[in-house]
Subunit: 210 residues, 2 copies
């Protein structure tokens, strides 16, 4: 029913440790018309990273120029810290080609996207409970206690923004979470507000038939 | 994620011949937590009908009393014609028990439901085209040419109300249409505005953890 229509811009946010990466990789694997938006950053490329894959790595000067040229859908710049931005051209190209674009960004970034693109669908991936989130961070074993405490604090701040999001999907299991997000995308595409082309066509049929 | 929550009230409308009956029967068959709302009518029971199954058959006087007692979620009464109404108690009982309730009613009835129950989800089942709808009515072979013309006219009026609905699902195939409606129900249940209990629980977890 929507073979020829524009893709959806989908923001997926959620606290560190909730499993965004795993869920999104499975989503992309199962859905050929879905792509990741690659962000621009000013931080240095790590050894195992590839420019244009994990991030587009740009200098502070290049980043400033991109802001001036209006090349970002949204960006985050805090002086003295690394900057991050979502390149507008890539997102628009993909949407126009009928692909759904997944933006994996933090809650503040998600809310900035919604401001400039009210058609975006904001999904919050939540843990089954805060205890479970903390357990997953500990289990991951990549961070010390102090870092886990800090991440838990940030998580709490993020959770307090759920009410600004459109949907909340609990990541109890990866399969369930992916199914939930797929249902949201399927449903959003049949919303009347997104189906004006289809409705026009049907109503033209009404005028022509008699 | 919503084992303990209230069910959804789902209105499914669409022109005569679009296949509402077939789609809804398949939906009910595949989803054990879904029930049909049975309407009250003042028309006479046909031989093959069972009171409480196709309709609750009531007299004009009983219908009037039900209106006075506020027993209808919505009703339609045109003097000199049969009356139809949706009994509120049955719907509420089922929703409170966590079942999703399907209301198969016309567009005007659907809009009356939305007025009193803004949580209801309104789905319009549309034909792939008006030509296809007419072809299906002819193929059904149960009606003469005049009746088909009249039904096509009513269909055109109904189609003009699509924009007041929440979703439009095209019935190109029964399987696709059922999948589309199931995705809508799944997605609607993870809408933030319907997840206040879950969010409260998660945020309580945030307060307790440190």
């Amino acid at each position: 029913m929507d073979e020829n229509s524009k893709g959806l811009l989908i923001v997926i946010s959620g606290p560190s440790g909730v499993g965004k990466g795993t869920v999104n990789r499975k989503l992309l694997k199962d859905n050929p018309h879905m792509v990741f938006s690659v962000s621009v950053t000013t931080r240095s490329k790590r050894e195992n990273e590839v420019d244009g894959k994990e991030y587009f790595f740009r200098s502070e000067e290049e980043f400033s120029q991109m802001i001036k040229d209006g090349e970002f859908l949204e960006y985050m710049r805090v002086f003295g810290m690394f900057s991050y931005g979502t390149p507008r051209a890539f997102v628009n190209e993909q949407l126009n080609a009928g692909n759904d674009v997944i933006l994996e960004i933090d809650v503040q970034g998600g809310l900035r996207v919604k401001e400039v693109c009210e058609d975006a669908v904001l999904i919050f991936l939540a843990p089954p409970s805060m205890e479970e989130l903390k357990a997953r961070l500990v289990e991951r074993g990549t961070e010390d206690e102090h870092s886990i405490e800090r991440r838990t604090e940030v998580a709490k701040d993020e959770m307090r923004c759920i009410s600004y999001y459109d949907y909340v999907v609990v990541n109890s299991s990866i399969g369930q979470a992916v199914k939930g997000i797929e249902a949201i995308i399927h449903a959003e595409k049949s919303r009347v507000k997104r189906s004006s082309d289809l409705i026009t066509l049907l109503l033209e049929g009404c005028d022509n038939i008699c």
